[in-house]
């Protein structure tokens, strides 16, 4: 129950090709996240899975069944939107039960399902309210509740946390993770926030310009990025890319993550001047203008006393250098 397969999905808007042949398999119970910069086609792909966009060519299979031309309501999916998309004139209870009523589910069954979802999301006190009377976080919980009562094969989330403030985002993220464990349901989640992707996903699909750059578990993407795009996209602050020839390394470009650079005031590989230091308490980020490697970011753990204009030496940890060829592909050592 709840597997998804995409075969060579293409989607064009006029002459603009947004999805350029996407192949993907999602196993039952998996939590898969699509990440990528804006305009990479991740939302279009999700909407194609939902049936809100017709694909130009290719096949969408849910549970092995071809649903390419099936209307959204018959695909066994539920979707949570970035803007919550609650029906403004209906109460929370009616918002949750509308889909089931449309499908002709018996009232008793609807009540049971709504009660269950309400219980899971602690929405009991709000059932009679209108969406306008709820806060952003509560609205998003109602939207998730509306998805839950459908008991779908597949949950689709379209940037559900983007409209929430930082604290609520973390809280709701934890809630979604808990729901996934509790339900064991298959979930597809779109975000541009790599922290959400890293913390929630079983597998991450990195999209760029309408193609899949890499699919893998969060740690696979972090430790073994397939190319420079993925290497630069996953991890914060961004990986440092240095022209290999300038520092006497093999390949076209080398990449070193900021957290894999050590700093010493006395000696090291790249001599440079601190142009800015960010003290975050748990971390200290240093931006160095180095003599031979250009601008380099270093992430140190804990508190450090470096300030602007200090001269320091940065050294990469052994075995933590990524190498890329002239096409940006990773060179496997």
């Amino acid at each position: 129950m709840g597997s998804l397969e995409l075969k060579n999905i293409r989607k064009s808007f006029g002459s603009m090709e947004v999805l350029k042949g996407i192949d993907l398999q999602v196993k039952d119970g998996e939590f898969v996240i699509f990440v990528g910069p804006s305009g990479c086609g991740k939302s279009t792909l999700l909407r194609s899975i939902a049936g809100l966009e017709d694909v130009t060519s290719g096949t969408v299979l849910i549970n092995g069944e071809d649903v390419t031309v099936t209307p959204p309501a018959k695909r066994g999916i539920a979707m949570v939107f970035q803007t919550y998309a609650l029906y403004p004139h209906l109460s929370v209870r009616d918002n949750m039960s509308l889909g089931l009523k449309q499908a002709g589910t018996p009232t008793a069954e609807i009540d049971v399902r709504v009660a269950k979802a309400t219980d899971m999301l602690s929405l009991e006190p709000y059932l009679k309210r209108r969406p306008a009377e709820l806060s952003g976080g509560q609205r998003q919980r109602v939207a998730i509740g509306r998805a839950l009562v459908r008991e779908p094969e597949l949950f689709l989330f379209d940037e559900p946390l983007s409209n929430l403030d930082a604290a609520l985002r973390v809280q709701t993220r934890v809630e979604i993770a808990r729901l996934h464990r509790q339900l064991g349901a298959t979930m597809i989640y779109v975000t541009h926030d790599q922290v959400e992707a890293m913390t929630l996903a079983d597998r991450i699909v990195v999209l760029n310009g309408g193609v899949i750059e890499q699919i893998g578990s969060p740690m696979e993407l972090y430790n073994r990025p397939a190319n420079m795009f993925v290497a630069g996209f996953i991890g914060s602050p961004q990986m440092n890319f240095i022209e290999a020839a300038r520092v006497g390394e093999a390949g076209a470009t080398i990449g070193i993550r900021p957290e894999h650079l050590g700093v010493s005031p006395a000696e090291g590989r790249f001599r440079g001047k601190v142009i800015h230091a960010e003290h975050l308490g748990a971390d200290t980020n240093l931006y160095l203008e180095t003599e031979n490697a250009g601008l380099v970011t270093v992430r140190l753990f804990g508190e450090h006393r470096y300030t602007a204009d200090d001269i320091v030496y940065a050294t990469p940890e052994a075995g933590k250098i990524h190498r890329f060829d002239e096409n940006g592909k990773t060179i496997v050592a």
Binding site: G51, L52, A73, I77, F81, A85, Y87, G99, Q102, A103
Partner: protein
């Protein structure tokens, strides 16, 4: 409006301008109403004076109610106006929804074609319309008027409503689709309630020209049983003698139904005009 940003002088200037405009706009209405309660002599003698004990007279209203079948005229006007508004709103909203919601070949062209009607007055086509009505046997029916007014009101309705429809969130419509609502249900149950203020705006802009129109009733439906109020009032305007009491009384009476409809729509209307201006 906060006091810090508005000086008293500016506020009072704005109010003076608004009050002046209100007076100018209301003066003809006021004149019509006061004179409708005066005797004929008083209307010509002191047209600006309020009706006093010596000049007060209900002769105009008596004439209107006795002569001519004004109840029928009112009924005709109301039927034509209400049915036309209903059709304009329904068809206009549906067309606007299609234009703003669906991507199809010729969408922009279709939108332009429908908007052209705003710029070209429908009266230019009077002869053709009359020929058409004669051919279909619709002359001297209220249907003829309803059809013409619906066509007349649609372009502006589509233009205004499609702008508002674009502001309705796509996510909301998509949520409806996933919940299994048909496109009709999405239109009637999700989109229409959200664009209600703009519907009221369109209703008012559509209603007033229809209610006040003399042209089409005169040409397409001048028979006794299909006369509208504005046409009925012409009964008292003769080539040589005009019964001003009756004309003014008929016009005063004609104001009230519009006023009632306007009050119904006005609360929505204000929201419609200002939404979009202020986010």
């Amino acid at each position: 409006m906060s006091k810090a940003r508005q000086s008293t002088l500016r506020t009072s200037l704005v109010h003076v301008a608004l009050i002046a405009y209100t007076l100018v706009a209301l003066f003809p209405v006021f004149l019509t109403i006061i004179n409708s309660f005066k005797s004929k002599q008083a209307i010509f003698g002191q047209p600006l004076r309020l009706p006093g004990p010596s000049t007060f007279s209900l002769i105009g209203y008596e004439t209107v109610l006795k002569q001519g079948d004004f109840i029928t005229y009112f009924q005709n006007s109301t039927i034509v106006t209400v049915v036309s508004i209903f059709l304009v709103l329904l068809l206009g909203a549906m067309a606007a929804f299609a234009l703003s919601e669906y991507r199809f070949r010729g969408n922009t062209l279709m939108g332009l074609y429908l908007a052209i009607g705003i710029m070209i007055p429908i009266r230019l086509g009077t002869v053709a319309l009359l020929q058409g009505m004669v051919a279909t046997g619709l002359v001297n029916t209220l249907t003829a008027l309803v059809l013409v007014y619906t066509a007349q009101g649609l372009p502006l309705a589509i233009f205004i409503l499609s702008e508002f429809m674009r502001t309705v969130s796509d996510d909301l419509k998509n949520a409806g689709r996933i919940d299994g609502l048909s496109e009709y249900a999405i239109f009637f149950r999700l989109v229409l309630p959200l664009v209600r203020p703009s519907m009221a705006t369109v209703a008012v802009f559509t209603m007033i020209p229809i209610w006040n129109d003399l042209w089409f009733p005169l040409i397409l439906a001048p028979s006794e049983s299909t006369k509208t109020v504005t046409l009925g009032a012409q009964l008292f305007i003769g080539q040589f003698v005009t019964n001003w009491n009756a004309v003014l009384a008929a016009l005063s009476l004609a104001i009230f139904p519009v006023l009632i409809l306007y009050v119904i729509f006005s609360r929505q209307l204000i929201r419609g005009i200002t939404s979009g201006a202020v986010k």
